[in-house]
């Protein structure tokens, strides 16, 4: 049996000297739990898992999925889970310089001592951080070189629904909802650990579970042009689904970070999945079917959570919170049951068309948090193409309500580079923004007007696997940049704050999300050339990626600006996400005919 090795506090203190935000690495938050792996006899029966979030602490601790898995695994008598985050650049340097392996927060156990290492991956541009963490743990990044029984390495989360780019690094992937399957996996790890069975046996054993993709069991054959000729075997992996969310109570004793996380609030998932069917939206497909939590228990558990944590903000999460049928009842009950507390409520994904006066009133009872709306496109034509089922007058009416109720801050999301886009679609983004400003000027009193703030976020469209637009050619950087510059030049300057993600970042994001297993070599190369935190604009190095694609003999445009053929075998065809390719193709065809689909909910 592996001996458990830990970092002692003295050494930690030495490492933390001159480190930015040392609070990231010290654990001991309220809600943090750990089963001490000592004495060793106990530990033999305890299966240990490292839950790794490949971004910094403040980001990872804002992720509800992490808190949910942490809660579920630690509640189980036989299992323990500890957290690991990406060390910031300065701490990585320290670790490498002092030759200390990366360790978990709770018991400061070195990463390679865990039985199972599970990465939860939220974004493609964090892939290099995954390799970096494995390497910092003294673990070979390539799965086939890891011959020992432990640690087992796996990945889950929305950014691995196409597992291929990471396939060479992982022993297995977990696709879909993690709550149930994580326990099934750990039960099998336990059997594996207490037996003389080999890794192959273990992988076969878990491959029978829903949601488990084992790259080693699949072979890809390619045509000369680089597209896939066949995948063997043809058996698809069905996504893991939790049929009834109510089976798991919401996390009422979450870890409360000691240092300020990105989202410093009590988070509650009220609904999973979204039935709106916007054609660009990956989340809308991969989290299907729509499942909601029962409202009365939600109210009870939320109130308990607020009491346990002392948070002054509660956030009701779902892909489309205002589609939750009892939303008003929920908000009403929460505000009245916690009247004396100064509680503010946020609904991060409010839809414009169901935004109404009552909802506005209820949210207003808290601190005046800004409102976020996502029209996505400026023209009706384009909103029809992408199936964003909303009309301009609805947008304006909703914003009118918001301003008359006293909001002064709103955020609007737009996308550019959408399929079949023309100049008119772009100029109408500017026109819509102008109309929003006019509405605000009408609706706000003279006193309030100077405080008006409209944040506009413009993103480059990136075709994603499992969406009706998965076949679409991505717009090129020159075209994206000129569209953005047009908007920047023509949009009124007053009240407006406009942000734009580097189009070259979107290109790499697209190449990684639509990549095949060969892209793994690029990721490895980029990491070796120093790529880390690629999602952070300051660290993103396009030339490194360009160079590594070239070195691997791959053309970035093959994965990005190339339109995929309808009958092409796609790298992610090994996964059955619950929505058929036929359905996606039909939706794609409809968009071509500018047909607007009926709202499905």
């Amino acid at each position: 049996m592996n001996k458990i090795k830990k970092l002692d506090f003295d050494l930690l203190e030495k490492l933390l000297k001159d480190i930015e935000k040392p609070g990231r690495y010290i654990n001991n938050e309220v809600g943090a739990r750990s089963k001490s792996p000592e004495p060793a006899s106990d530990f033999y029966n305890l299966i240990s898992m490292a839950l790794v979030f490949p971004d910094i602490y403040e980001v990872g601790m804002s992720n509800l999925g992490l808190q949910i898995l942490y809660d579920i695994v630690n509640k189980h008598r036989d299992f323990t889970v500890e957290r690991v985050f990406s060390p910031w650049i300065d701490f990585e340097e320290k670790l490498r310089e002092q030759n200390v392996k990366i360790f978990s927060l709770e018991n400061r156990i070195f990463l390679d001592c865990f039985d199972l290492i599970g990465f939860t991956v939220q974004h493609e541009l964090l892939y290099t951080n995954i390799l970096n963490i494995l390497d910092l743990g003294g673990i070979n990044i390539n799965s086939r070189h890891r011959r020992d029984k432990f640690p087992l390495v796996c990945a889950g989360g929305p950014a691995i629904v196409n597992p291929q780019p990471l396939s060479r690094f992982m022993d297995f992937f977990v696709v879909g909802d993690g709550e149930e399957v994580i326990i099934s996996i750990l039960e099998r790890v336990k059997i594996y650990k207490c037996s003389s069975k080999d890794k192959e046996w273990f992988l076969k054993e878990i491959s029978r579970l829903d949601g488990i993709y084992i790259p080693g069991f699949y072979k890809f054959h390619y045509f000369l042009d680089g597209s896939i000729e066949s995948i063997k075997p043809g058996r698809k992996v069905r996504k893991a689904i939790v049929e009834d969310l109510n089976k798991f109570e919401i996390v009422q004793n979450p870890i409360i970070p000691n240092i300020k996380p990105v989202h410093d609030r009590f988070a509650v998932e009220i609904m999973r999945g979204c039935g709106r069917g916007c054609r660009f939206c990956q989340a809308g497909i991969i989290y299907r079917p729509v499942r909601k939590r029962e409202v009365e228990s939600l109210i009870r558990q939320s109130a308990a959570g607020i009491k346990n944590t002392g948070y002054d903000e509660i956030s009701f999460l779902s892909l489309s919170s205002s589609d939750y049928s009892e939303i008003e009842h929920l908000l009403d009950k929460i505000t009245s049951s916690l009247k004396s507390k100064r509680l503010s409520i946020s609904l991060p994904s409010m839809r414009l068309d169901s935004f109404n006066l009552n909802l506005a009133e209820l949210i207003q009872s808290g601190r005046k948090t800004g409102l976020t709306f996502a029209p996505e496109a400026g023209s009706q034509r384009m909103r029809d193409i992408i199936n964003k089922n909303i009309k301009e007058n609805e947008i304006i009416d909703c914003i009118k309500v918001a301003f008359s109720r006293g909001w002064e801050k709103i955020k609007l999301y737009f996308m550019i580079g959408l399929p079949f886009e023309n100049d008119e679609d772009i100029s109408q983004i500017v026109e819509l923004i102008e109309k929003v400003i006019m509405t605000a000027e009408d609706g706000l009193s003279r006193k309030k007007l100077p405080r008006l703030k409209i944040n506009i976020s413009i993103n480059a469209f990136c075709p994603k696997p499992f969406t009706p637009f998965q076949w679409v050619a991505q717009d090129n950087t020159a075209s994206l940049d000129s569209k953005f510059n047009y908007i920047l030049k023509n949009v009124p300057k007053r009240y407006i704050n406009i942000s734009w993600t580097d189009s070259r970042k979107s290109i790499i994001e697209c190449a990684l999300s639509r990549g095949n297993e060969l892209v793994g070599e690029v990721i490895e190369g980029a990491w070796k050339s120093g790529a880390r935190f690629d999602n952070w604009t300051d660290f993103f190095k396009f030339h490194v990626w360009e160079k590594e694609f070239r070195k691997a003999g791959l053309d970035i445009s093959f994965f990005t600006t190339r339109g995929f053929a309808d009958d092409e075998i796609l790298p992610w065809d090994v996964i059955d996400i619950g929505v058929s390719k036929k359905f996606l193709l039909r939706e794609y065809d409809r968009s071509k005919r500018y047909l607007r689909d009926q709202d499905k909910i």
Binding site: P22, I26, N28, N258, I259, G310
Partner: protein, 235 residues
């Protein structure tokens, strides 16, 4: 009968420490942790009126990141009545062992904010020399004392410098340093910073090959009628 206390408010000053892992938390983190612990203990902090209501709680000046403090203070105005010990017990249950309230006392008189009132911070630390350096340390002490009093601006922020020998190990002495914040503040419009000590003493420390260890903020003082008092003594 209606309990009178429920309708009143209580002003409490409390002293707490931050040590071990928690010494790596910033002042703002500590404020957030305390406010949330009060809320978990179901003690309601009063808020100011106005457009942007603020909780009525204020803290003593920040302790640098990475330094243990046994003397953090806060004044809070609570809705309702509560006994000091009850307050301490309730809140401590909601705090981690690395941060605990050691003393709580009702404020009966009008006071200035802690930030303004605190005049002196007392830091304790050990000075260690690599080998039998008792003489070395004495030389060092003589050296800095002379220099301090004679020519440095910094001298005005040194209130007291005491050397106490460590009983077990004669190579280690305990040096107490107090920053005389009032004077310092008038001059630089800035509070005494422990880092300034490092900067100022750096050369001497190097010269005598002395390491500073186990730095701790030990106590804070306010000045009342030319005498030093702890913040608890003046309310």
């Amino acid at each position: 009968m209606i309990d009178q206390k429920d309708t009143c408010e209580t002003r409490i000053r409390f002293k707490f420490y931050k040590k071990d892992e928690f010494k790596y938390l910033s002042h703002l983190d500590i404020i957030r942790i305390i406010v949330r612990a009060l809320s978990r203990a179901e003690l309601e902090i009063k808020y100011s009126r106005g457009y942007n209501p603020k909780p009525k709680i204020n803290f003593s000046p920040p302790t640098p990141l990475g330094i243990v403090s046994l003397a953090e203070y806060a004044d809070v105005l609570l809705d309702g009545g509560i006994e000091e010990n009850e307050f301490k017990k309730k809140v401590n249950l909601k705090l981690k062992p690395q941060m605990q309230i050691t003393e709580a006392k009702k404020i009966m008189i009008k006071t200035d904010s802690l930030m303004n009132d605190i005049a002196i911070s007392l830091y304790g630390f050990k000075l260690c020399t690599p080998s039998s350096g008792k003489n070395l340390l004495e030389e060092f002490y003589a050296d800095i004392e002379g220099d301090l009093r004679a020519k440095s601006d910094f001298s005005r922020s040194i209130f007291d410098l005491k050397i106490i020998s460590d009983k077990e190990n004669s190579d280690i002495i305990l040096l107490k340093l107090s920053g005389y914040a009032k004077i310092f503040k008038e001059e630089n419009n800035e509070f005494f910073k422990f880092n300034n000590f490092y900067i100022f003493f750096g050369d001497w420390l190097k010269k005598y090959r002395i390491n500073i260890e186990s730095v701790e903020k030990e106590e804070l003082f306010v000045v009342r009628e030319n005498a030093l008092k702890t913040p608890m003594e003046v309310i």
